[in-house]
Symmetry: C2
Subunit: 258 residues, 2 copies
């Protein structure tokens, strides 16, 4: 039987249902709510806000060690949210959590991130949503991340979130004792320095492989990427309104005629 007072929590990610991060996040959320997991059947990193238009989606039950864990969708993180709300869940969840992602979703990575996109899709559907990332690809230790996720979900359920806005939370991969605090930050200015590689295949035809290195452009801990490197957990409010409101005044000044 469902306890009505328990919040209904939808858990998604972009690393796919096999990733450790979503198992940690679902486990953490089960301590405070009724959890439904709906995640991509395969890793879908770097998908941004992509959705699947030209082909149908399949939904499957996913079991781990023969126990039911959740549902997979044969699409993107955004697809997962759409199908979960329209067809899997009997009613809208109270909150959506996405992650815990491998690798930082700071700075311009915010635009590429499927983890963030899943949360943004939640807000588009008027559901408070939070994206969580652990800022490493190696030797991930999710134990503190799972704890801080629960804390932030509780806080969000109590306080609510500003209109049309998610929280993008990044957690450094260091022991809890070394965390210097939790900081509300803005999206950093760091960017990928492109390093796309050209190689020849066995037939002598070139192919290209995207690659790059994040170049630190942030000056202080007001920015997410820099604060992370200074051992803070960062909480960045990200909006689905991408209008540059200051620039709007400048463009109005152009006095464009048809």
């Amino acid at each position: 039987m469902t306890d009505r007072k328990k919040p209904r929590i939808l858990v998604c990610n972009d690393d796919g249902i096999d990733a450790d991060g979503i198992h940690v996040l679902a486990g953490s959320m089960k301590k405070i709510g009724d959890v439904t997991v709906v995640a991509p059947s395969e890793p879908r990193s770097g998908m941004g806000h992509a959705m699947t238009l030209g082909v149908p989606l399949r939904v499957k039950e996913y079991r781990k060690n023969s126990r039911f864990f959740g549902y997979t969708v044969s699409g993107t993180p955004v697809d997962c949210i759409k199908v979960a709300i329209s067809h899997i869940l009997p009613e809208k969840p109270d909150i959506i959590v996405s992650g815990i992602n491998y690798g930082s979703n700071t700075a311009t990575n915010t635009l590429y991130s499927g983890t963030v996109a899943a949360a943004l899709e939640g807000v588009i559907q008027h559901i408070p949503s939070i994206a969580f990332s652990l800022t490493t690809y190696e030797n991930a230790d999710f134990s503190y991340a799972g704890k801080i996720a629960r804390k932030l979900v509780r806080k969000t359920l109590r306080e609510g979130l500003p209109e049309d806005t998610i929280l993008s939370v990044n957690i450094p991969n260091i022991p809890e004792s070394e965390i210097r605090g939790i900081k509300a930050t803005r999206q950093g200015k760091s960017r990928w320095a492109e390093n796309t590689i050209e190689r020849d295949d066995m037939y002598g035809n070139p192919y290209y492989w995207l690659s790059g290195k994040l170049k630190l452009l942030d000056e202080n801990t007001a920015y997410d990427e820099y604060a992370i490197r200074e051992n803070y957990v960062t909480v960045t409010p990200i909006s689905i309104d991408m209008t540059n409101h200051e620039a709007l005044t400048a463009i109005k000044g152009w006095k464009l005629k048809k």
Copy 2:
């Protein structure tokens, strides 16, 4: 020989290199600059800011009526910009134009749009960038759109754009005489009302197909989607900084402890 005074213009889109819109845009741009076309080999609508991480990309020359038109990339609009700048163009372009897209890139569509994402990727790479859309899927008449695109590119090359910001331009599919003017607008609040369809395949297994209808939530012509319906061309400055700066104050007030 290249005329050094002519601006170097990179043309991309998300409907793929066969789409009419990119041929109109490239033709229009050739009147004012040196044009290179780099576009997805196939339609890539709704891809958002997706990039291709797990597989290599292929670049091919594309000809129309046996004449060279441009290059195709076997990936997303964002991939096209990355590969164009790192490997196809001998130097950075002066401006990137994306489109002309079929269907409006207003309101929350801004997040799903590959056309907008290509332009955002341009700005990430410090190149002024503009996305163009004709707000129809049927009976498209690109003649005025091609003209207004040229006008806005000229203006942008003269004035520059605000930092980290693109222009997302939407053009109603009506005769030029019915256009009421060009309006600097903000991203609208209209959203897709989900209508994802569940059907059974021939084996009795369900599949899901994303679908929806744009629900008008904008109240006045300050918002792109509403202004379009009132027969204005809209010019919306869209930023790669998605921080909700007002919300930042609220989150700081949470006084989060680790």
